[in-house]
Point group: C2
Chain length 466, copies 2
Amino acid sequence: MPKILITDVVLRDAHQSLLATRMRTEDMLPICPKLDAIGYWSLECWGGATFDACIRFLKEDPWERLRKLRKALPNTRLQMLLRGQNLLGYRHYSDDVVRAFVHRAAANGIDVFRIFDALNDLRNLRTAIEATKEAGKHAQGTICYTVSPVHTIDSFVKMGKELVAMGCDSIAIKDMAGLLTPFVTADLVKALKDSVDLPLHLHSHSTSGLAEMCHLKAIENGCDAIDTAISSLAGGTSHPPTESMVAALRGTEYDTGLDLAAIQEIGMYFYQVRKKYHQFESEYTGVDTRVQVNQVPGGMISNLANQLREQNALDRINEVLTEIPEVRKDLGYPPLVTPTSQIVGTQAVFNVLTEKRYQTITNEVKLYLQGRYGAAPGPVNPTLQQQAIGNEEPIECRPADLLRPELARLTKEIEALATCEEDVLTYAMFPEIGRTFLEQRAAGTLVPEPLEPPPAPTGEPANSVP
Amino acid sequence: MPKILITDVVLRDAHQSLLATRMRTEDMLPICPKLDAIGYWSLECWGGATFDACIRFLKEDPWERLRKLRKALPNTRLQMLLRGQNLLGYRHYSDDVVRAFVHRAAANGIDVFRIFDALNDLRNLRTAIEATKEAGKHAQGTICYTVSPVHTIDSFVKMGKELVAMGCDSIAIKDMAGLLTPFVTADLVKALKDSVDLPLHLHSHSTSGLAEMCHLKAIENGCDAIDTAISSLAGGTSHPPTESMVAALRGTEYDTGLDLAAIQEIGMYFYQVRKKYHQFESEYTGVDTRVQVNQVPGGMISNLANQLREQNALDRINEVLTEIPEVRKDLGYPPLVTPTSQIVGTQAVFNVLTEKRYQTITNEVKLYLQGRYGAAPGPVNPTLQQQAIGNEEPIECRPADLLRPELARLTKEIEALATCEEDVLTYAMFPEIGRTFLEQRAAGTLVPEPLEPPPAPTGEPANSVP
Ligand SMILES: [Co+2]
Ligand SMILES: [Co+2]
């Protein structure tokens, strides 16, 4: 009897974290028979940024990818990451679009919907959870982990209970930034397992080199399932290696029951695949513990560095890193994840570059302070709110309550370019690049971005001193 | 009060594991003030393969390196790795040479002598431990961890007790191959701490991605000190990142008390230094769990691959990997570490390439079966022993008991090329390349092996999908 369940994220989060989400379907399908034979609890293979990357860069139909994966992985649950009411886009959608999206994802092959909201505002999960249940699929409610004065173990347990009440089938802790430490994980998992009678999954990024230890402490404290990535796409901003976690638990009461040698073969495969995408590798792929000091996620730091470089202001990065916690505090301590990481980061850049804090307030910060993303986790700075939105009353309701049904309109707008509801949803997610994609598909002119040839080998493999 | 002590191995094992031991003193000294300020229990910075690499490749005087490090690190214990009666060479030395070596190492700056024997034959540690104590320094007795029918927790505890009786100041578990798993570590550490009243240090390589978890379980079970490496030279065949372990323990009863931000600055430094040695990087620097399946250490696999490639027989490597456990069993299950890894590996290659097992028996295997390296951990194959050494009686005594004092002879042989006892010891370690080194030094013709220029950057840093 396997005790600990494994979700392998090699087909989604691993290449999203390490290779800018560029892995192509053609590199997934050949290994699917071996992946399917392992006996994973699930394979995360869709959602997150993969939909965007398919349309924008790979010129692949993401729905087609899903159908192919479904066919190639008949024995394994397929899992996707869904940004609640944002789905896979960057705004809130009306409920009819959310429902349609979940139903089409289910019909095309998704079994497990991991659903989160950047603010942990559970109202933004409600429709997606309901739709998942309607479709007869597994709804995994997600707690975004972060560190702040308003995020306590009690607050996370409260969320867990609410997710139970909303009908979730399991709960995931999502540590997108690698902020968890082993002993905090132990306390958090224990508290959740003591109060919430649902299977608990842990998703922790290896960024700061703590994720394996967090997994281990989670398991010892009752966590049921962990997310890992095949070793050749593990570590760094990705996840703990599947092989290492399987080896760590072998022969213990937590044994995963998975065949280590079989997983190693898959590791060899992705080792070769990774080379094909070398142009998307970060310069540094090792451990980066800075998030443990300044709470700014590693991915956010590199985005900021790019943003500052474009404005010839890379030398201001340390000021921006110092400013980010201030902006985050003013906004009531949102977890830093898409889209809040961009909202906070861009405002921090403005605050530094304009020399006067909030001289310029971005549109997104205004929307945030209007309550248009949902409720902030903690109280926002009232002075800033007044300055940003004047005497306008912030909304108290669920943001999507203000949205009228829009599926019909979207269907009408995209017209014959959409050959099925899935196409309408593609257009809904990405009005510009989605339309372009559908046009090019119709015209037969889809061309994926080119890949650079493999680099010449540099140096000989090291010979050990005898 | 810091609870867990840290030994940072960045100046020795980290670059020995990742960069073929090639880091030069000039790249160590600039960062020494920062390293010295951290408050490490010790810095491992000498011994192992560094002596050999200095003489053979870097054309640096290893004694001079030690004196420079001592001066640059006035506040931190300096630690070396010593192969017991083998010292830093590849044969057994007479006791007078061992004593002289330890005394000169102590006089030049070593505070902590970590002393091991490849067979765990403690008689091969005795003289080095005694000499360390005579010199007023810290003698750390080492248990080489391995997996076999004759290596049990009880057998390791027995060793631990013997090391106490021999006067050691602390005990180290040396997991050179990354064979330890977290729950085995827990049991082993607990058993040792229950029976042995000495500080316990854990040295586990990250090869299979389990070392952080092993460290954590060791700490929870009473381990006093762990070995780590600055993150930019951590992971892979090296060690858990110092920063990650410090972050993992912060704010807990096991807090190291070290300043994470200060260590991060050192990480940035070595990140740059590492680039200089890119030609010595392994092609693959990630996690490799194969040792957890076949018990063959990763470093040994790459050496074998090189050996087979030279004989145009790389396609036989899987046969060799299958043969290694057989040879190891025939030899009474030696741990696989210098020199036993070479002894077992080379014999396994012969067994495969000559098509008949033990048709050729290497000289080293003959010496091993004569007892010339010490006592095998378990019974050796009597048929093989008979075939290898005929009716000759294997020795029962400590191998060095058969060696006459040799320091005077060595001093005479090297004559005026040696300007001090340290030079004689250099010659003693490496009769050929040591002599050449001393000759070239006298002639002023020492030239370090050249370093390749840094490679052209490949591709842009990855931009995350928004
Ligand atoms: Co993730
Ligand atoms: Co080592």
